[in-house]
């Protein structure tokens, strides 16, 4: 098996998140090494580049490269951690904040050293408010121990870090909407350029990374970039937290070496529930194109393999659907979500996402028209690439994925004015699941 906990290694559930526990696991040794050794920001960034850590928030942008975009020199600069995890299927940052919040604090502090950032914010999804409170406690522990704030570990390096909570807006996970939200406005994404590295929070240079990205940093510094890369496969460095939900026996978060076969992940999660047959998997969060069983079973879990299969690793959120699922209904639910969460500033996304939802909804309800499949393709195609942020793409991509692989099920719906999978079978398949892990 390729289970390889790093960020979650030796964490002890709710009983192991405090500073004393993190220190006992070797925590803050990377920060100490950087400060005591006066490691230059250039060397730090080179180490990050060598690790080929790619952003864990969904886009997979190389982290070392992103850090190198920050302008050099004095002045206010910011770091933001994106813990606004709200892409359906994704729940790994929650486990990091629950079980290892200090890894995020240490990773951000090292990133501040590398980028010259003076202040940081961790933007935490409003729905996990209890973990926002926990993070504030962890910050206080770090400040009290001289690991955060002014003159860290007695050096002349200072970095202030605070928590900011969201309050129910998926779009704030988009990095510039997140900045708007921290500035106290509604979360509408900004036009780019200018990019945040030049003009970010309060108009100052800013780097934004995902929670898991920051939490990986101390481990990379401790083991060295090359060793981290070697845990995964070329161009897909390290370990990755996978959130697996839906029709498996043991849903949850599994940290695996990048490049682990999907079949192994499925086995770790206890296999398909009730011994039923696998139908389809959304491998990277709900905006990633769905893949039918026969394709996903041959994939490995990394950026390159899933992109070659026509989908993406995204946030590493794996939604498993068995043979009881009606694909039209599944897409209907996702389309509803993207329409609900569109911030409304771009017409193609605001109007198009609603249009997509209404078409899928009428097909599901037996009122589909023959021309609807073409219409769906055309509306999706007219959203893609025509909006300020990628929420429009996120609404369009699932539609295209479902149509690409399950077109015949959609056509059947339209022709027969109902579901291919009998309703009682669907209902039985979506029963309340009592997980053995709870």
């Amino acid at each position: 098996m390729s289970l390889r906990p790093l960020i979650l290694a030796n964490t002890n559930g709710d009983a192991g998140w405090r500073l004393e526990h993190y220190l006992a696991r070797g925590g803050y040794s990377a920060l100490k090494k950087v400060i005591a050794g006066k490691v230059s920001p250039e060397d730090l960034i080179a180490e990050m580049k060598a690790s080929v850590l790619r952003g864990r928030g969904g886009a997979g942008f190389p982290t070392g490269l992103k850090w190198s975009f920050m302008p050099k020199g004095e002045g206010e600069k910011y770091l933001c951690c994106n813990s606004d995890e709200g892409e359906p299927g994704t729940f790994k940052d929650r486990d990091i904040l629950r079980y290892n919040p200090h890894a995020v604090i240490e990773g951000m502090t090292i990133a501040a050293w590398a980028t010259g950032a003076t202040r940081g914010y961790n933007y935490i999804h409003g729905e996990i408010f209890e973990l926002y409170e926990r993070f504030e406690e962890a910050l206080q522990e770090a400040r009290n121990a001289g690991l955060l704030g002014a003159r860290i570990l007695g050096s002349d390096f200072s970095f202030e870090l605070f928590a900011h909570h969201g309050y129910g807006a998926y779009v704030c996970g988009e990095e510039t909407a997140l900045l708007e939200s921290i500035e106290g406005k509604k979360g509408q994404p900004r036009f780019k350029p200018p990019f945040p590295a030049n003009c970010g929070l309060y108009g100052k240079p800013t780097t934004i990374n995902n929670t898991e990205t920051f939490a990986s940093v101390p481990f990379i510094i401790n083991m060295g970039g090359q060793a981290y890369l070697d845990l995964g496969k070329p161009n897909n460095g390290g370990t990755k937290l996978f959130s697996i939900s839906g029709h498996v026996n043991r849903p949850g978060v599994y940290e695996l070496e990048m490049g682990t076969p999907f079949a192994e992940l499925l086995e770790l999660a206890g296999g398909v529930r009730g011994g039923r047959k696998l139908k389809a998997v959304i491998p990277g969060g709900s905006s990633a194109p769905v893949l039918p069983a026969e394709i996903i079973m041959d994939c490995t879990m990394d950026y390159d393999s899933l992109s070659a299969a026509g989908s993406m690793l995204g946030s590493g959120a794996v939604i498993v659907m068995d043979e009881t699922v009606c694909m039209v209904k599944a897409l209907e639910r996702l389309s509803y979500f993207y329409h609900e969460e569109s911030c409304g500033q771009c017409t193609p996304c605001r109007e198009g996402s609603g249009w997509l939802y209404r078409i899928v909804h009428r097909i599901e309800n037996g009122q589909g028209r023959e021309e609807d499949l073409e219409l769906l393709e055309s509306v999706a195609g007219n959203i893609m690439g025509r909006t300020v942020c990628a929420l429009g793409d996120a609404a369009a991509m699932p539609v295209r994925g479902f149509l690409k692989h399950f077109q015949s099920e959609f056509a059947w719906h339209i022709e027969h004015k109902g579901c291919l999978v009998p309703l009682d079978v669907q209902r039985a398949g979506s029963q309340i699941y009592v997980s053995p892990s709870c």
């Binding site: 206010e76 995890e85 709200g86 892409e87 359906p88 299927g89 994704t90 729940f91 940052d93 929650r94 202040r119 914010y121 999804h125 409003g126 729905e127 996990i128 408010f129 209890e130 605070f162 928590a163 900011h164 909570h165 969201g166 309050y167 129910g168 807006a169 939200s181 921290i182 500035e183 106290g184 406005k185 509604k186 309060y202 959130s243 697996i244 939900s245 839906g246 029709h247 849903p251 978060v253 709900s286 959120a317 939604i319 498993v320 659907m321 699922v325 639910r333 996702l334 979500f337 609900e340 969460e341 911030c343 398949g429 979506s430 029963q431 309340i432 699941y433 009592v434 997980s435 709870c438």
Partner: protein, 160 residues
């Protein structure tokens, strides 16, 4: 309407942001105002937050309407938000929602006549591995819900 204690809490939030950036505390300030006003934000609360943070009222109102955990109308003493997004729906999210509707005798966005419970449909809470999940009064997450656990939760909340 904002108590001295609430103002103290808001001051702590303001201190997190650089000088001159009080507006950044608006999300916390609205949350704090909502907490001490029975879970919703009347117009006066919005005005007071605006005055306290020296923001135009309309800017505060924009924030209050954009983020869906703020309530602009009265809610029951206990607001229950059920996640029915796809990952949760695969593991019983919809069944849990139906069970709650039947137990409470209300639909989504409705409040029981005694003012005790409001039911809401929510989007992904980032806890899909714990499906079915629900939130109580925005801040308490309840995982792996079953009819038995719902019965216990409702009985406990009934007396509060």
């Amino acid at each position: 309407m904002l108590s001295a204690e609430a103002k103290q809490k808001i001051d702590r939030e303001i201190a997190k942001y650089p000088a001159g950036q009080k507006q950044s505390a608006v999300m916390s300030a609205l949350r704090i105002a909502q907490e001490e006003n029975a879970g919703w934000l009347p117009k006066e609360a919005i005005s007071e937050v605006a005055a306290y943070l020296e923001m135009p009222e309309v800017a505060v109102y924009e924030v209050a309407t954009f983020y869906n955990m703020y309530e602009l109308k009265p809610v029951g003493r206990h607001k229950i938000t059920v996640c029915t997004n796809l990952p949760c729906a695969l593991s019983g999210g919809v069944h849990v929602a139906e069970y709650l509707q039947q137990k409470l005798g209300i639909g989504f966005n409705e409040t029981t006549p005694d003012g005790k419970f409001t039911l809401k449909e929510g989007e992904c809470m980032g806890a899909c591995g714990d499906a079915p999940v629900l939130l109580h009064n925005n801040h308490k997450m309840c995982s792996w819900m079953t009819p038995e656990k719902i019965d216990r939760l409702l009985a406990e909340l009934e007396s509060k």
